[in-house]
Every structure is written in structure tokens, then in C-alpha cells.
Symmetry: C2
């Protein structure tokens, strides 16, 4: 992966990612609603910058990574894409419940299980597991990951390619199915597994990190251009 002039950007350990997240919600008093909205918007902006409009299968896990996916689906719809959502293990949290209402009322269809034929989709958005993921993978997500790993449809992974170790990257060949995403968006800052990303575009998104927090964790974030919400780290 080329990181261009951003060679010093820091790749976070799982514990660092969790600590930064906590600090944003405590010291800085952000709400999950606020940051998830900005994160999901940047995912949709990245997808707009990389792919033609078409039918997009957005797969949402039960946690905040899935929430980013649901927000992303909502903005994709406003950008002229045709998202379809697979959200097999709905969370009972108030925020996630509202995200479902928002997307359903915006006319975004839901499917109950992974379609056997994925060929009608131009893109799959992987919002299954995020930076707090630890194995084992529970069903139906094992089945879904096997299906995605066998497919040729490009995959856009949010923050972590699902099934990868947050620090050590792709699973060993004899373990779980290995996703090879076409694009990866790192929210806030890349996690260590992003070093193993070999796809077409590594994007930085989630432009909400206060300068002092970036300094404290020595994030060495490259500068976003203008008022952009995303930065393509693969552009050297």
C-alpha cells in the first residue's frame, strides 16, 4: 500500500482505538449520534468517489460498525445509489433502532439473509465488525463472510475488514474466510490491520478528531484538503 507523503501516519492498536473512542465520548462530550453521523457520511462520500452508482448491499453488524453502515446507506440513497440493507442481528439500542426507522422510512429495502446470488450488486459495504472485534465469529456472520470471500463483487470495508484481527490483519488460511476488500476506510485513524490492506484505495474518514487529541496519541494525521470529509491515502 502506498501511503504517499503520509508515511508517518500512526496505525493504532486495538487498545489505543478504544481509548481514543472513549475520550471522544467522555472528555470531549461527543454523542455517538454525532460521530456516527460524520463517520457514516464519510463512508458514503468515499464510496461516491470510488464507485459508479448502482445497487449496493450494505451489511450491518450489531455494533457501532453496523451503525456506521446504516448511516452510510442513508447518505448513499441521497447520493443516488440504491442501497439494500442486511442487518441480521438487530441491536435493541435506542440509536440503532432509530437508524433502522430512518432508513426504512427513506425507502431503503431490507433483506433477511445474504442473497444466494450477489451478482446484481455493484458493491458490498462491509459494516459487520469494527475495532472492538474479538473472535470467535458467531453465525450468521461466519456464513456471510464465507459468501463474501467467494464472491467477486468489490467490497468496501468500514474501519476493519471483517474477520481480520484488528492488529494482526488477515486470518490464517485455515481459519475463517478471508475478505480482500477493494477499499478500506479508516475512521479517525488507521488500525494496525490496515498495514495488511492490499486493495485499491485506503481512505481516511471521520474528520472530527480534535487537534489536542491527535497530539496526545501522536496520530500524525495527514491534512485533509479544504472542507473535504475524506482523504485518499493511496494517492501519493
Amino acid at each position: 500500500m502506498s501511503t504517499g507523503n503520509n508515511v508517518r501516519i500512526k496505525y493504532l492498536s486495538q487498545d489505543e482505538a478504544i481509548a481514543i473512542d472513549q475520550e471522544l465520548f467522555t472528555t470531549y462530550a461527543f454523542s455517538v449520534d454525532q460521530l456516527m453521523e460524520l463517520a457514516g457520511l464519510s463512508c458514503a462520500q468515499a464510496i461516491y468517489s470510488l464507485y459508479e452508482k448502482g445497487e449496493v448491499l450494505v451489511i450491518a453488524g450489531p455494533g457501532n460498525n453496523g451503525g456506521d453502515g446504516l448511516v452510510c446507506a442513508r447518505h448513499l440513497k441521497l447520493f443516488g445509489f440504491s442501497p439494500i440493507i442486511l442487518y441480521p442481528k438487530p441491536s435493541k439500542s435506542e440509536l440503532m433502532t432509530r437508524l433502522v426507522t430512518q432508513t426504512k422510512f427513506m425507502g431503503i429495502p431490507y433483506v433477511e439473509e445474504i442473497p444466494s446470488d450477489l451478482s446484481k450488486f455493484s458493491l458490498i459495504v462491509d459494516g459487520i465488525f469494527g475495532f472492538s472485534f474479538r473472535p470467535p465469529i458467531r453465525e450468521p456472520f461466519g456464513l456471510i463472510l464465507r459468501k463474501l470471500a467467494q464472491s467477486n463483487i468489490p467490497i468496501f470495508s468500514i474501519d476493519i475488514p471483517s474477520g481480520w484481527d484488528v492488529e494482526k490483519g488477515p486470518p490464517a488460511a485455515d481459519e475463517v474466510p478471508c475478505l480482500k476488500p477493494d477499499a478500506l476506510i479508516s475512521l479517525t485513524a488507521p488500525k494496525q490491520c490496515a498495514k495488511f490492506f492490499e486493495g485499491r484505495a485506503h481512505i481516511l474518514g471521520g474528520r472530527f478528531v480534535p487537534g489536542e487529541l491527535a497530539k496526545k496519541y501522536e496520530l500524525q494525521l495527514p491534512e485533509y484538503k479544504g472542507s473535504d470529509g475524506i482523504l485518499n491515502l493511496s494517492d501519493s
Copy 2:
């Protein structure tokens, strides 16, 4: 004001604006956190598109218009501007309190009253009153508006030029001081007073209106370009 190819765009009455707002929060289950984040972000994007970086005085009223202003200030800081906030009547609401914490921890200074000399500011952001405003104007906002009306610093008004009637526009000459903003951003859709705007740029922002809601209220919104969060209605 030129509305270019958007001549059919609807200008909302106060009651319609309030009804649409309510429907977003009830039927569509959006949180104020979510929509204020997108609204404030679009304000900052509009300012970035129109003005050079510099010291910007952001004046926030006690309601949601002020909240949009605080979110705008936060994004302006990330975009390289130097915002300074005047928020004379702080709300006790949990969201507004958190917005203050976020901006303060991001190193944005607050001032207690309107500076007597405004000449160091390159721009003033008017986030004082929004679409639910009804007279009379209480102090210190009367004083602030008089000061702004006398100044030559360009004013960027959020949703409503403060002191204007939401439907009938600028106050009569012998009433309250009349702001003449250089730019106006209409969030969601323009309110009727925007017909009287004679400044340089009328921007549409707050790109989150579900298609069905736009249809129900016959908003006739022009199409945003690509993944943009703002649209300059003054560009014909």
C-alpha cells in the same frame, strides 16, 4: 436574487418549517444531534466555499440556530479558520451543554459580550435566531443586532437573518436594526424571508431531507451535485 434553474423551489411558511422539523424528529426518528451535526457542517462548508480563512466571530443564540452555529464553529476550526464564540444566553439543554464542552476542549475561545471593535474579524456568523423566532427581541440580542447592523464586516446568516420576520423578511426601518447578510444558508429548504435576501450568495444546506418528505411538502428542492453537502442557489 437569482435562483437560476431552481425557480420553482418552495419558500416555506413558519408553520411549514416547524411541521417538517417535527416530522423529521418523530416519523423519521432523527435525533437533534444528527441533524444539527449535518446542518452545522454544511454551514462550515458554505463558509469555506465563500470566504478566506481568518478570525470568525460565531454568535450563537439559545436555541437550535445557536446549536447549528456551535457545530459550525467546531468544523470551521478543523477547516483551518479561527472561530471565536459569543454565546450570551447559554441553554441548559444537555445537547447544547455538550456542544460547549466540545468547542472549548477544541481550543475555541469564548467572549462574554460583543466586542466593541469588530474590525479584526473577517466574518461574522449569525446563529442567533432561527425559523421559530417570534418577536420581541430580548437583550443582549437587540444590542448585538444593532452592533452588527452598523458594522461593515460580512455576515453569514444561518437559516434566517436574525431580527427578520421568518415570513415577511426585513423589519421596517423604524423597528429593530436590520441585518443585511452577505450570505444566507437555508437549511432543509428556504423560508419565505429568503425571498428578500439581496446578498451575494444564497446557499442550500442540510442535505438530509428524505425524498418522501420533500414530496409531501412539495419542496421542489434542486439537486445537489455529487456528494456535496451544499448547493449555491445564486449560481445560475
